[in-house]
């Protein structure tokens, strides 16, 4: 199994000890780990299990159940394209084709330079301004192919 560096190990241990007294803490712990490290490293699973007095299987089962939890480090920027019905009615499927071509990766993929991770998402609650895209937690509505390119160009300038 991959190992974590001592800093990340300490981070996971600190999160577990901070949150373990809360009722039903596992999701809270996993959210905090992902917020700190960008994903849930496989090596974090036994640490979390041990700290919360759960089996590794239970923790692994939860990590893999939820789409939001990542199993590997994402790119510098996460681009989520809504693929649900309201966005489809305004061209979300064509926009996804455009995004794949522009970034050169499929859904769940990260560009070779590590800049962008492309994800499908099922509803951002912006259904009256479809199609919707979220980039690093920022929501964009009525996104055309041109606007998508402009948003990517803008992100590409950032670290």
């Amino acid at each position: 199994m991959q190992t974590m560096n001592p800093g990340d190990t300490a981070t996971v241990r600190r999160i577990v000890s901070e949150l373990k007294g809360r009722p039903g803490p596992l999701l809270e712990v996993l959210h905090a780990v992902q917020a700190a490290l960008g994903y849930i490293p496989a090596a974090a699973v036994p640490l979390v299990a041990d700290g919360l007095n759960l089996s590794r299987a239970e923790v692994h089962g939860v990590v893999t159940f939820y789409h939001y939890f990542r199993h590997s480090a994402p790119g510098a920027h996460t681009v989520s394209l809504c693929q649900a019905e309201a966005c489809q009615s305004k061209g979300a499927v064509a926009l996804a084709d455009h995004a794949r071509a522009r970034l050169g990766v499929d859904f769940h993929g990260t560009t070779p330079d590590g800049r962008f991770t492309l994800e499908p998402i099922y509803c951002l609650g912006n259904c009256a301004c479809s199609p919707a895209v979220m980039i690093d937690g920022r929501l964009h509505g009525r996104v055309t192919a041109e606007r998508f390119d402009a948003l990517i160009d803008e992100q590409a300038k950032r670290p």
């Binding site: 951002l124 259904c127 009256a128």
Partner: protein, 514 residues
Amino acid sequence: MTVRVYVPGDAGATSVGADEVARAIAQEGTRRGAALEVVRNGSRGAYWLEPLVEIMTPAGRIAYGPVGAADVPGLFAADFLKGGKHPLLLGPPDGIAWFAGQQRLTFERVGIVDPASVADYVQHGGYQGLTRALSMTGSEVVQAITTSGLRGRGGAAFPTGIKWKTVLDQNSAQKYVTCNADEGDSGTFSDRMLMEGDPFTLIEGMTIAALAVGATQGYIYLRAEYPHAHRALKTAIAAAYQAHYLGADVAGSGKRFDLEVRLGAGAYICGEETSMLESLEGKRGEVRVRPPLPAIKGLFGQPTIVNNVVTLASVPWILAHGAEAYANFGTGKSRGTLPIQLAGNIKRGGLVERAFGLTLRELLYDYGGGSASGRPIRAVQIGGPLGAYVPPSQFDAVVDYEALSAVGALLGHGGIVVFDDTVDMARMARYAMEFCAIESCGKCTPCRIGSTRGVEVIDRILAGTDGERNVQLLEELCETMVQGSLCGLGGMAPFPVQSALKYFREDFRARTQG
């Protein structure tokens, strides 16, 4: 005198440039030495007019929209801080036809108040419901909710009062109030708008529920896809604690109610109430077998109210104005108002709160203005990804729980997604099965396996392999899923497929390409 300028901070408004507009107004104001204060209100829900900027003038609020950052210098030049004439001038917002006919009860403050301010909330009638509730016994409060006719707005439409009564009647040292804010249905955003635009109404509703049934702890289960709502709720909850509307002594009543937000993690199934409870407990969001009902054995095995955001947010109005006043709105067994969300390919998309009783046609054409593309509307999907597709021949159906069910559709959470005549209904049917396969919790076979087989069968139809036989197979598969699934995901995912087969069968044919 400092002029108050409202620029929505709502996620939908910011998605089309409201942050840039707010910044431009602040900067231009500074440059010109104008005394102004920018307030980030919620959205009133007319998304085609967003960003909708409003100026508080001595004569009331004056709206301009849709405003782009580039319009800002021109607006200042036109003296918009005094309500000056400009091509984007809309006049008083209440005078805009789209709002004029609405009956805003649950959403009466959304888009109007500052969602971060308890004081503003109270000034606009907030906490009157709680004050009233504190003068009543728990069972009187529950009776008021029963009398109001309020039914669950999340989609199941179960009478709220009956649910509360069950929890009230349990003898238990610990009870919970949970809010299902896992608004995952495509085409719906009323929960999000309310949480971002008037979060104290939800907090007040949960507080009333908790004190009525004897619960001391509340959780809002919020989907992770709503970071803006998360921030708004955290801000509002902290402010409510500060003002002693939450905590050990709610509004001086001597009663305790604690409230926190818990984040989901991208699982549609967690909008199903028992799955949500599992998730709140930190587990895989697998559906529980009922009975026992959550009202008897819910969160951590204790009696638990599970209600949707809009349901709980309707409670303060009912308590403040009386159960009969609420029940006076609506039709048949659908009492009160419903915030309907017009979404997708629609010219004037957004939130319409009206008493039950409007027809689909009125909503789609009078409010919505037809499709955004200008092409004929071919189908609408009502009630999210598990809802039926409805053809124009049914557009005279009244939008209430019973009337829609009579035409084979479901109102669900009140979202209507519009498609023009370029839609390929076999593809939409395939998507319904694909979505079910992605989101199935895996606990029962009809849903877990059936959805994947459904995608394969539709693929064979589209590829021209044994078309007739596979259409028949698809119909049988749908029937099996409806009859045999443990919960609504597998049990309802066939509805869009069956309705597509019923009304748009011509689309289920071999494709030469793509």
